[in-house]
């Protein structure tokens, strides 16, 4: 599967992606804003990637390619949708730090949500962002996400509690 959008292309995860994932997860700047806490062994990374190669309505994952180079630059996922509510949780990870601040996160967010609305038939996409992760929050807002609530002390990481923002996007609101 290849889903071509502006700036990025989504494709189905492949076992070979484990190599990229391992590199991204080794970068503390990348994992700083993720729920990941414990270092992942190569086997654990390979297993995570392998799970993503069997898509279902409740679990669709994508490897994000940069259109100009064709290189894998991150991954996205839509998880937890039920057929009745059709609301998925969005993951966006831009692992290649050299590309930060250049619109790839927004592009990957848009492409994944567009896929979710047009191909999966979702009604809503939501996500939890660290409240002080301004760059991510801005990228989601650019795609049309609205902050719906603030959960206090939702994540304990790096020795302290962090508030999280619940952000949501309804079909038809994607920009």
């Amino acid at each position: 599967m290849r889903y071509v959008a502006d700036l990025v292309t989504l494709r189905s995860p492949e076992p070979g992606d484990a190599e990229h994932h391992a590199r991204w997860f080794a970068d503390p700047e990348v994992t700083r804003t993720l729920a990941l806490r414990y270092p992942l062994s190569p086997d654990a990374v390979a297993q995570r990637v392998a799970e993503g190669t069997r898509p279902s309505f409740a679990d669709r994952r994508f490897t994000v390619l940069a259109n100009d180079t064709g290189a894998a630059v991150g991954y996205t996922a839509l998880k937890g949708a039920t057929p009745e509510n059709r609301d998925a949780e969005l993951d966006v990870v831009l692992g290649e730090r050299s590309l930060w601040g250049r619109g790839y996160g927004t592009a990957a967010t848009r492409a994944t949500c567009r896929y979710g609305f047009d191909r999966v038939g979702l009604h809503r996409v939501h996500l939890w962002a660290l409240a002080d992760d301004a760059r991510a929050v801005r990228a989601y807002e650019r795609a049309g996400f609205v902050t719906e609530g603030r959960a206090r002390d939702r994540i304990f990481k790096d020795g302290r509690w962090h508030d999280c923002l619940l952000m949501g996007l309804l079909a038809g609101e994607l920009r």
Partner: protein, 167 residues
């Protein structure tokens, strides 16, 4: 439990097999079935989007009178295939089938959030076709020689119902 005016649709449970065995002994029941009735399956877990098969009780007496449900549901396309069997002959021709199908379709739209319900029916089963049309179903496909039943070919209709068409 899902309540209609005459019937209640409930999860299948052990003991229902005995009623089902009686229904499927009646050739008036089986002559209209699209496949051989296998053993009456009692799902072990919860009723789900992917497997919503019920036993139909007469609400007034609590008697199991048949089975109905929705199978092959597609979450992306938001449609499923309905089936209905009123197995107890005493409850045929009295509006129980109509009430069951209407109640099942309301559940499909209001609880399962489907956009469309489809069903297949033997072309000669006039009573069933008329019942489904009263519910609001529209004949969409006439599939010729679709089924080999009792030594001859039968045509079948594929019928469909949108949310806004349910009466």
């Amino acid at each position: 439990m899902i309540s209609g005016e005459l019937v209640t649709l409930r999860a299948r449970r052990p003991g229902d097999e005995e009623h089902a065995a009686r229904w499927y002994d009646d050739p008036e029941t089986t002559r209209w079935l699209l496949n051989d009735a296998g053993p009456y399956e009692i799902p072990a877990g919860m009723t789900t989007f992917a497997d919503a098969r019920f036993t139909v009780d007469d609400t007034a007496t609590g008697t199991p009178i048949g089975t109905a449900g929705l199978v092959n549901a597609s979450p992306e396309h938001r449609r499923a295939t309905a089936f209905l069997v009123i197995g107890d002959a005493a409850f045929r021709g009295r509006g129980y089938g109509f009430d069951t199908m209407r109640t099942l379709c309301r559940f499909a739209f209001d609880s399962m959030n489907l956009a469309k319900v489809e069903l297949e029916v033997l072309a000669g089963n006039d009573r069933a076709v008329a019942l489904y049309e009263r519910v609001g179903f529209v004949r969409e496909v006439h599939r010729r020689r679709a089924l080999w039943v009792e030594g001859e070919w039968h045509d079948e209709y594929l019928m469909g119902l949108f949310r806004e068409e349910l009466r």
